[in-house]
Symmetry: C2
Subunit: 203 residues, 2 copies
Amino acid sequence: MIISKGELDQMEIRKKVQLATSLPGAKPICLVGTKSQAGVENLAPFSSITHLGSNPLLIGMVTRPDTVERHTLQNILDSKAWTLNHITEEFLQAAHQCSAKYPGGVSEFEATGLTAHYEAGGFAPFVAESPVKFSLELEEVIDIKSNGTKLIVGSVQQIILPDVALEASGHLDLSGLGCLASTALDTYFSIQEIGRLPYARPE
Amino acid sequence: MIISKGELDQMEIRKKVQLATSLPGAKPICLVGTKSQAGVENLAPFSSITHLGSNPLLIGMVTRPDTVERHTLQNILDSKAWTLNHITEEFLQAAHQCSAKYPGGVSEFEATGLTAHYEAGGFAPFVAESPVKFSLELEEVIDIKSNGTKLIVGSVQQIILPDVALEASGHLDLSGLGCLASTALDTYFSIQEIGRLPYARPE
């Protein structure tokens, strides 16, 4: 079937949101850990996370002003610091529950039973249950004029992971660690590595 | 283990690139289809694809000026048009081969044997072998100052997919379609849906 832009414009809004969020494919899913100036710890699931560069190691994520992500954005603007924590099936229910719209004074750690972990000198909390987690420092916030969203760009400060997960090549065994992928804010996938292909050259 | 920013800065460059590109998690993998003003069709694999908004349906992708993606970027700037084509295991080898740095006059369709497909009125080629594909129109190109990359923002014009893949809810059955995920420009994953969780509310 072919769905035209006109048909998309006419589509019932919940159906369109569901289609729009699954269309680009399976994405990462991480809990973003932040802390307010008043000391309230915050967790929110984000899936719009992407690699922007390796040298320095820059990661981008997209935020909308009108969702639970607003606490996350404000905390990042105030403290310049956040963590990204990969989600596994073992704590998926608690991680998903972090998408609920709790009032400002409530910490998602307390609400869901997840455990905050701090490294010396770090402001933002890590999620202890997460096998791969890293902290970032704010580099820039970019306005996306097309729809009023923002791209938050951070440089990676510290990576915490099991020794066995990092291969000599630098490859991280995400499927072995049980890291999930997601779409549509409600659908979660396990991932299985099916192959690593050599650097391609013209034949 | 903990890897500090200082250790990252000192890491051998290939190892760092591998770590940096797997760190954010499993991402979508699509072939970007474009055509030059001279009529040369181009295909390039992109993994930095993200949902920016549902109403209108906006998709972003990140490009670097110094890679095979440069043909893609130039073609998009010239024509304002491109397609995104999900990759499955059936044509993974050919899709991966599109990352090779072919000279400007060579079409990756010819080089890899993939089949161009056009819809009436469309400028950019789709990949016939792809089960889920969609065309976009350029909305804006945003400079990411932190490292000189660009975020290309497009609005979805047309979606082509099998009737059975679109559920009444708008949910797209990506794992049923065999759509892959990827990291690190060389590693590919199959995905298996493990659950859909209800909208979360504070308890």
